[in-house]
Amino acid sequence: MTRVPLRPLARILRARTLGENPDTIERENLRLRHEQMRDKSRGQAQLRLVILILCFFSAFTLIGARMGMLASTEPVEPRSSAGGDAIASGRADIEDRNGHVLATNMQTNALYVQTRDLVDPRRVATELSQIFPDLDAETLHRRFTDGRSFMWVRKVLSPEQVQAVHEIGDPGLLFGPREMRLYPNGTLAAHVLGGSSFGAEGVGSAQIIGTAGIEKFMDSRLSDPEQAGRPLRLSLDMTVQAHVEELLETGVNMYSARGGAVILMNIKTGEILSMASMPTFDPNDRPNPLVKGEPGDSPLFNRAVQGLYELGSTYKIFAAAQAMDLGLLNADSPVDTSFLKIGRKTISEYDGHNYGPTKTLSEVIEVSSNIGSGHIALMIGAERQQAFLRSLGLFSSSPVELIEAMGAKPQYPKKWPDIVTVTAAFGHGVSSSPLNLATAYATIANGGVTVKPTLLAQADPTPGDRVMSAYAAEESVKMLRRVVVSGTATMADIPGYEVAGKTGTADKPSPTGGYYDDKVINTFAAVFPASHPEYVLVVSLDEPVETSGSKPLRTAGWTAVPLAAEIIKRAAPLLGMRPVVEPAGTDALTAVKQ
């Protein structure tokens, strides 16, 4: 800055010559200088103020913005307090009674396409169709280019497929994590497990929902996040189930049956150790329901629970048990087996047999006399008979934990004239599922106390109601034992396991009315061991025929009974049941030791 002198010599000299006071010049200059200095410092002060204002403004803006941010963000839990457990999979596993896995989850990926990001739709379509042979390249390309922005390609991929899709390398191909339900044992216990599919689906995750069987019935329990870590333990025994299914399949093939069902149940707890139905399916790849034809022919149909059949002579023991419970008869009381006519309808024996004028109650069961059972039922009377059958659970759908059981309500006539009383005594005119029958037999075997059939492992079952005296129940089991020892089910007499049971051969009702001559349902309901019953086994075969002899045999004694015998032979040792009598003879090893 150029400094202006206060007393410039030129102006002083000129002022002196003019006779003026040179001090005024100095004062004037001083004044000007002071004005200059004042302006300068005012400018500086103003600048400082502006800076200060800016500082405050930005500070308050910062604080305000931070407060706004805090107010608008989602509250986040402090990470250190997030517990380490129970982040496990979404749906609980299903295990058998011994902890073998029946259903579990697996992490996979779903494939979807953001078509706007596709670089080369043509190439992507071609390569995808090579990875997934069931996709058509042309269709894919058309769908990629028809204006949609998003498209699912696959719901689940195998790791190899994920890698293959990665190698296409197009940015429009994206993966969504998926939890997949896996049934590692394939068809094992398919009808019990049912199946599952995806419910609500998003890119990030998808919900698994049960579509049938116990997966659907227990859906809320299985999808409950609180219980996701604890597997659902079923009463099934996987080993026994595998043997039962193998034998049932063999039996169905051997006797050219349309299908069959087996139920093995613990009579004390009601736990179902094995439930099988043929034909079966793979729950990993659940087939679609049939759109035409009989639903009963679908592999999805659970014959053990949904199959409502007239179960024939297996019902006779109920009439006998009730007659003994009411004190009308005892095991040795004579029963008329000569002739029975209700209205215009004459009751006849199977295959035109004639069992003579009288038989004891025990013999009626042993030879399976229709006429004898009819007479017993008439003694009991319609009302008491209905009440008894109802108390055994034969008139209501089974309370088992399967969604299918709810819809399978046993069928029985609304009116109950004498003819129904008589036919119901030998299992015609009323139909129920094999599971209903197994439950009723379990009640008899359990000393007359009802049991609730269940598919869940039970630690302490609730005791049921008593529906008949222990005496009647015990005598009934003895009669069933006689059926196996010397009656219609001798093939089931397995040494050591004291099998007791009753056969049933029922003609199939024709959809056009009446009954088929050559189509039957063969059932064998067994209790073993007879001296202290533990298990009930029901085997039911649909349209079986035994063709090894000269003429085809369609009675249960030739089809269901040998199958049941084979199942007991295999299953009883697996259940840890020691044969009651000692094994006959010694083999080479024990002989040497002695």
Partner: protein, 128 residues
């Protein structure tokens, strides 16, 4: 006296500030580690689930049945039968006389640990 207290207080504030600063970063490091470990746990849990599924798949009854059939020559596995239950009476214990026949003299009590490799397979098992 007062200046000393001021100085000490100032030093204490400095020290606490430094401590708080370090704790803050130590906590953040721990939180990161926890998050990392939780991720690892989740991954391990996933692979555990896969391996359980794999194990169940490899041990499915139909496969074991087929394997038993394929290897029947070597293993001779058959379904379990009722006759395979034994009774205790069939187990051949050594007779009472056998232990009397051996005359044991100068018995001593011994105590110690058995080492598996040093046990010689003996022909007969003595039961008291």
């Amino acid at each position: 006296m007062r200046p000393v207290i001021y100085v000490l207080t100032f030093i204490a504030v400095l020290g606490l500030g430094f401590w708080a600063y370090r704790e803050n970063y130590a906590t953040q490091a721990s939180l990161r580690e926890v998050a990392q470990l939780q991720d690892e746990i989740a991954q391990l849990r996933d692979s555990l689930a896969i391996q359980r599924a794999e194990w169940a798949y490899l041990n499915r009854p139909s496969r074991l049945r087929d394997l038993a059939a394929v290897n029947f020559d070597r293993l001779g596995l058959m379904p379990m039968q009722a006759s395979q239950f034994g009774v205790v009476a069939e187990v051949s214990y050594p007779t009472q006389n056998a232990s009397i026949a051996i005359d044991i003299e100068n018995t001593v009590d011994v105590a110690g640990e058995l080492v598996a490799a040093e046990i010689e397979p003996s022909g007969e098992v003595q039961t008291p």
